[in-house]
Symmetry: C2
Subunit: 157 residues, 2 copies
């Protein structure tokens, strides 16, 4: 795997989330090339939630390539421990994917009927976090995964 891309919908709004992302993005760069891609959110002024969800999902799919590994973050995804995720990730690294994409849905999630069959789906928690917080939590977790893979002590403190 040459690089990781995080794809999300809409600007990162809270400055603290932006700062946290920068902290972990910088740490993660010691291990792998990391890109982020921000997709415009739908205009939530007119239309319905279903329409916005569908529009945003379509925009995401246009940015994806079937030759890459695409991991959708979703509350119905597979539960993983950090160690389990690291193990899975390490295996993926041997499979020669040119890039791994982690995709965070917008404020209203994905339109699942549009997603490819057997899509890979990951759950960060049984609890629901805002899609903004998920960006930060995912970044911290990716950094943790790489420290586990490299056998380095995670800085507990």
């Amino acid at each position: 795997m040459r690089s990781i891309r995080l794809i999300w919908i809409g600007k990162t709004q809270f400055p603290f989330v932006q700062e946290g992302i920068s902290v972990y993005q910088k740490k993660l760069r010691h291990y792998v090339k990391v890109e982020t891609e921000e997709i415009h959110a739908s205009k939530y002024a007119s239309g319905t939630v279903d329409q916005w969800r569908r529009q945003e999902t379509e925009k995401i799919l246009k940015r994806l390539d079937r030759s890459e590994l695409n991991v959708f973050l979703d509350e119905n995804g597979k539960r993983q421990t950090s160690a389990g995720l690291a193990q899975w990730f390490e295996k993926q690294m041997t499979l020669g994917w040119p890039r791994v994409n982690f995709i965070i849905g917008g404020a209203y999630g994905f339109e699942k009927s549009l997603l490819p069959a057997n899509f890979t789906c990951l759950r960060l928690s049984d609890m629901t976090f805002t899609h903004q917080m998920v960006r930060l939590i995912l970044f911290e977790q990716l950094y943790r995964i790489f420290t586990i893979i490299r056998g380095e002590p995670y800085h507990h403190v």
Copy 2:
């Protein structure tokens, strides 16, 4: 319940975590009185992990009162959805606890043998987060719980 207290070990180190806590603490204050209490971390220069863990757990226990509801955050705790947690919390609110304490262990967690029998234990995720990030995640989740209890729409965006 008159108030919520979050208890944790050691200073909040990353400025972004501190800022995020402030954001949600402010929002949460619309619903309930919120206090935080920081307990000094052990000096990790001398001694062993077991000693530090025991010391810190003892310091936490000194700050707790059996007449209050004490909830320990732990990776072996009960998994909850946000809605499930809100429901549980709402029930606790009717039971007349003077205060609910959420306790986040230090860098090395709790010495479980010291904790009271049948202690209440909550798991935020199957993944492991730093005890610093847990502060922020817990605050966001408490805010979410209160919006659920009050039947208010959580701001998705």
